[in-house]
C-alpha cells in the first residue's frame, strides 16, 4: 500500500547515506565539534549570506522547539502560537514540561498576525498572568500555507517594537522556500527572525534539524542546554555529514522542489475533478475535501490521514508528498481517483 501519510516514511536521500559511508571510519571529534559539522555550518551560512549566526544541529523538531524556548525564556515568560501550532497540539506538552505556557490565538489559515499578538498583549497586563515573550510560527504552517515576505516583515517589526522574540519552526521550511508564489529567502529569515530551524528530517535526512540563532543575545551557552536536554549527539558528525550533503550545493532545495511538484500534480488533478480544498496550500501537504465513500475506496489502496469532518457526507483528508515520492505513484493515485469517483 503506497503512503501519502507523511514526509518521513522513507530513509534518507542516497547522497546522504553515501556521505555517511564514505567518512564512516575516519576518527573525528565528538559532540558536533567535528570538521564535517563545521563544514556544514559554513555551507549553510553561505546560503544564508550571513556569517554571524550560530548554527546547532539537533535531532528532531520537538527537541529543537523545546530547547530554543527553554533556553531563551525566563520562567515567567510565555509563548504565543496559533491553536494549530505544532508545539500546542502535537508535542505532548513538551513546552509546558519545560515550565512555559503556550498562549494560543485562533489565527487565519494557520497563520499568526500582528493583530493576534496585540490581542494577547492587551490581555496580559500584570504579574497575575504570564508575560508573553516568544512568538512561534511555522513555515510552512501545519496546514500547508506559507507566510509572505510582507507578513514576516510586519511580524518581525512588531516583535522588535514589543520586545518579543520571533521564532520560526522550519520542519517543512524547504517546501515553503520552494513553493510557488514564495517570495522569502533564507537570507530574509536570518534578518527577520531571532531564531529558526531548517528541517532536515522531513526533507531527505535520516534525522536532523539545523537551529539558526540570529539574535546575538541568545547565543551564549546554548551548547549547555543541548547537553542538559539529552540532545547532544556523541557522533555529531552523523548530522554534520548529512547537512553538508544537503547544502554544499542545492540538494536541499531540489528535494523540496520535487515534493512540491508532486503535490502540485495531485492538487491540479483533484481540482480538475471538481473537488475543493480545506486550505489553499502551495506546499507538499494538501487537504482536499472528498466524499466519505471515495475516501474509503482510496484508503483501501493508499495510506493517508483523514483530517477533519467537513459535512455529513464529506471530509478533508491530508495528502503529503516527499523528496522520495515517485511521480508514477502520483499518476496512479490520480488515475484511481478518476476511476473510483464514478
Amino acid at each position: 500500500m503506497y503512503s501519502f501519510k507523511n514526509d518521513y516514511s522513507e530513509g534518507a536521500h542516497p547522497n546522504l547515506l553515501e556521505g555517511l559511508m564514505k567518512y564512516n571510519l575516519e576518527q573525528v571529534e565528538g559532540y558536533g565539534l567535528d570538521s564535517w559539522s563545521e563544514k556544514a555550518r559554513e555551507a549553510i551560512k553561505g546560503k544564508l549570506e550571513n556569517e554571524e549566526v550560530d548554527i546547532h544541529f539537533l535531532v528532531g523538531g520537538t527537541q529543537t522547539n523545546l530547547l530554543a524556548i527553554s533556553a531563551f525564556l525566563r520562567p515567567h515568560e510565555a509563548v504565543i502560537a496559533t491553536t494549530s501550532g505544532h508545539i500546542f497540539v502535537h508535542e505532548t506538552g513538551a513546552i509546558e514540561a519545560t515550565g512555559h505556557k503556550v498562549i494560543t490565538v485562533k489565527g487565519k489559515k494557520g497563520k499568526l498576525s500582528t493583530e493576534d499578538i496585540e490581542e494577547v498583549l492587551i490581555y496580559h497586563t500584570d504579574e497575575h498572568m504570564v508575560k508573553p515573550k516568544f512568538v512561534y510560527i511555522s513555515q510552512s504552517t501545519e496546514i500547508g500555507t506559507i507566510y509572505t515576505k510582507a507578513e514576516l516583515e510586519a511580524l518581525s517589526e512588531y516583535c522588535k517594537k514589543q520586545n518579543l522574540l520571533f521564532y520560526m519552526d522550519g520542519a517543512r521550511l524547504g517546501s515553503a522556500l520552494t513553493a510557488e508564489g514564495n517570495d522569502v529567502s533564507l537570507k530574509d529569515l536570518a534578518r527577520l527572525l531571532d531564531a529558526f530551524y531548517i528541517g532536515g528530517t522531513k526533507n531527505g535526512a535520516l534525522m536532523g534539524e539545523a537551529l539558526v540563532i540570529c539574535n546575538p543575545s541568545l547565543k551564549e551557552d546554548f551548547r549547555y542546554h543541548i547537553k542538559q536536554k539529552g540532545a547532544l549527539l556523541a557522533k555529531g558528525s552523523v548530522l554534520g555529514i548529512q547537512f553538508l550533503e544537503l547544502f554544499k550545493e542545492d540538494l536541499f532545495f531540489e528535494l523540496a522542489d520535487h515534493a512540491n511538484r508532486m503535490a502540485a500534480l495531485l492538487r491540479q488533478a483533484i481540482k480538475e475533478e471538481g473537488y475543493s480544498f480545506f486550505t489553499d496550500s502551495p506546499t507538499n501537504q494538501i487537504f482536499p475535501i472528498f466524499p466519505n465513500l471515495l475516501i474509503e475506496k482510496l484508503q483501501a489502496t493508499y495510506d493517508f490521514y483523514k483530517w477533519e469532518k467537513w459535512d455529513e457526507g464529506h471530509s478533508a483528508v491530508r495528502l503529503v508528498t516527499s523528496w522520495a515520492t515517485p511521480e508514477e505513484k502520483v499518476r496512479d493515485f490520480i488515475k484511481d481517483l478518476k476511476e473510483w469517483k464514478k
Copy 2:
C-alpha cells in the same frame, strides 16, 4: 594522529550502514512503530530470554537516563549514585533539570554497595529531605570496573526490600558483558533490574540506546514521556535497523569483545613495562599511570585524556578502545611506548 580518546570517534559498523542502505526507500511507519524496530525488539528479547520486558530505542545515554528517571519518579523522589556516576558529573544537570536530586556516595572503585545505599536511607528520615527511591549504577562503570553477579544480586535484593528502583546505565554494557571475569548475562539483568539500557552508540551504532523496562509497573505510557522530552525519532526505523543488525546474531558481543581484546593488549604491554593503573579495569577503558614526560611524548602522536594527577611527576591517563580500533594501531602505541620510555 590516532585517537584513544573515546569509543565514539568513528561511525557505525559497516553492517549497520548497509542495513540502512538496504531498507532506505521502503515506506514504513514512523516513531518506532515500524517492522524493523519490532524485529529488533524481538531479537533483543531473544537474547534476554525474556518476552515480558518493554524495549524503547532512544538516541543517547543522557536522554535515556533523564527519561527513565523523570518518568519513573514522583517529584519528591531522588536518585542515589556514586560521585563518579555519569548522571552526576557529565550530564549538565540533566536529572536535576527534570526536578530530581542526585544523592551521591563515594562508593569503591566506581561501584555502589548496599552499605552505601543504607547510609543514605538512614540519613533521609523525613519530609524535610528528598525521598531516596532510585538506585543508579553503570556497567561497566565510568572507570572501567564491572559489578559481579553476586554484587548485582545483593543490590537487587536490597532494593526490593527497601522499595527502591534499581537501574543500570549500560552505555558500555557490551564491554562489561564480554569482559574477562564477567559472570553476568543479559538474562540476569532482566531479572535483577527494574530497568536498564543497552548502549549502541559506544558499541558500533551511529547512535542508539535500547532501554529495557523490566518492572511492569514502570511500563505504562512510557511513549508519552519519550515524545514529551523530544526523544521520539520520526524515522525510528533508523534505530530499529541498527539494533536488528547488532542483535539478529551476535555482532553486538563480537564488537565489544574486539574492543576488550584491544584494551587487554594495551594493558598487558603497559604492565610489562612496569607501570601501574589507577583502576583495575577488565573493559575497554584503561587508566595507566605514566610519568608526565612520557605522557607529553605520547600525546604528540596519540590523542587521549589525561585523567587525574597521581603525584608530582605522574598522572593517570585514560585509553579507550572501540569496535573499530585496528590491532595495528595498538601495536604502534606499544612500540612507541617502549621506545619513548627510555
Copy 3:
C-alpha cells in the same frame, strides 16, 4: 473610598486574631504537627462527617492548586479546565511551571460539563498529545455561579468511569455552600471529589486554605511536596488556630452567609433599578451591567473592577462583598446608585 473590589481587603475575623493572641506564647511543634492544627483537622473532619480524609493547611490558592496538581500527576498528564478557570488565567502559569499543560474548554456560565470533558478525551488520542487526567472546577466559579449536586454527581461519576481525578478549587467554597439555592454539603464533596480545598483567605482568615485529600491513593508523601514547594509553614499553628476558630462551631458558614446576604442586598436593589447582570450569581460576587457614565460616577466613591465591555455604552462590573462588609456601606452604595442613575 469604600472597596467592593475583592474579599481579601481586610484582615481576619477578630475571633481568629484572638485565638492567635491567646495561644501565642505556648510552645508547640513546628510544621503543622502542633495540637492546634490537629484539633482544626478534627473539627473539619467532623463537618465533613468523614474521618478518612487527609487535611493539609496551606497558605494560598495558587499554592494549593499547584501543589495538588504537581503531586497527583505524572509528567505527561494534563489538567482540563474552563477558559475562565483561575489556574488558566490568573496564576502566572503556575501549573505549567510544574510541567503540566492546562487544556481548556469554553464551558457554560463558568462551569464544566461531562460533554466538555468528553470532547477533550475524544481529541486526545495518543502519545503525541498530553494525557488528560485531572478535572479542575471552582466552586463558586470565577464568575460567581455554583454547581448543583446533580451536576457534581454527574461529573464525579464520569471522572471515575474515565479514570480522571476530580478536583475542586474552593477559594470561595464558603460562599457557595451558603448560597441561596445551594443543595451541596461538605459531606457530599468528600464523597464526590478526589481532592478539594476549603478557602480561608477569602472567608475571614489572615491566610489559609485547607486541602482535603479524599482519594487514598493520593495521600502518600504529600508533606514532602508541601516542603519541596516552599509551602510548609514553620509556625504551622498560625493556620491551625485560625481554622479551629472557623470550624470549631459554625463561624466559617456564618461569615460566608453574611457576605452572601450583603451581595443579595446589592443584587436585589440593582435589579429593582432595572439593570441586568453579566451572570446570574447567587454568591458574593455579582456582575451588574451599568452604563459607562454611571460606572465613572460610582468609581469616584467606590473601588471595584470593571469586568468586561458589554456594548458601546455599557460594561459589566464586579462587586464583591465579604464577611467584613458592613450593611451600612451596602446601603450607601444603593442610595448613591439610585441618586447617580438619574
Copy 4:
C-alpha cells in the same frame, strides 16, 4: 516540657500581633501593594541606608531561596553551597525541583571560602557539566557560626571577578548581626551581596522573610516569579505590618540580641562545667558535647535535638534560644545540668 529545639516554637512578638489587630479592619490593596508593606520597605531601606534595593516580603525560607534561585538563574546554571547548606540538606530538593543543581563543597565550620569556590570553577570546564553561577551562604550558618566582614568582602570581590551571583540566606540574620564579635552591618550586606533575605520567622514574626535584591539586573519582573510559585500573599499587609513593627524602630535587633544573650548564658555555664562544643557559635544555636547519659536525663525535662555522635559515650546536641526564651528557663536548665552532671 520546655523546648530548646528551635526558634519557631512560639508565635509572634506581641507588638506584631497588636499591629495586626490595630489595622485589621482597614481596607487595603492586596498582594503586598498596601501602604503598610510600603512603609515596612521604607523602614528596612532606612536601616540598610540604601534606597535603591528592591524588597519583597515572602512567607518562609525555603520559598525565598527557591524563588531567588529560579528567578535569577538560566536553566543550565548551578548553585555552590557547603554540604551543611540548608538548601542542600533540608529543603526536600526544592532547588533541584526548579531545575538547578546544587554543587557542594565541604567548607570549614559551615562557611564557604573563595578557595572552595575556585575548586568548583576549576572542575567545571565545559558544557558537559553545569555552569556554576550562584554562591549560596547562610548567616548565621546552619551550625551557628558567622562570617566576618573581611570574609564577606573577599567572597564578594571574588564573585564579582568570576561573574558569580552572591546570595545570603538570612533565616537567622538577626542573631548574626547582634552576635558578640560581629563586625557586619545591614548596610554592608546591601553593598556586598547581589541579594539576601532578612529572616522574620525565626526572630519574632508569625512568618515572613524580607528578600532584598541589590543587583539591579536581578530586579525585573520578580513579582511574576512570586506569583508563579504560589508565594504572593493575597493579604500581603499581614507581612508588611509585622516587618514594620520589627523595623520601625529596633525591635528586630532587640529580639535577636535577647536570643543571643540567652544562648550566651547557656554557653558560659556549660563551659564552666567543663564541656566542649562541636562548633564555636556566638549566635542563638549552640552545640555542646555531653555524655549520652546526661543527654538522656536532660531530654526527660527539656526538648532539644541530638545533633551528631561525637564518640562512643558522647554526642553533640543543639540548644536553640529565641526572642521568647525566658531567662528563668535558661537558669533552670543550667541548674539541672549542674545537678544531673554529678
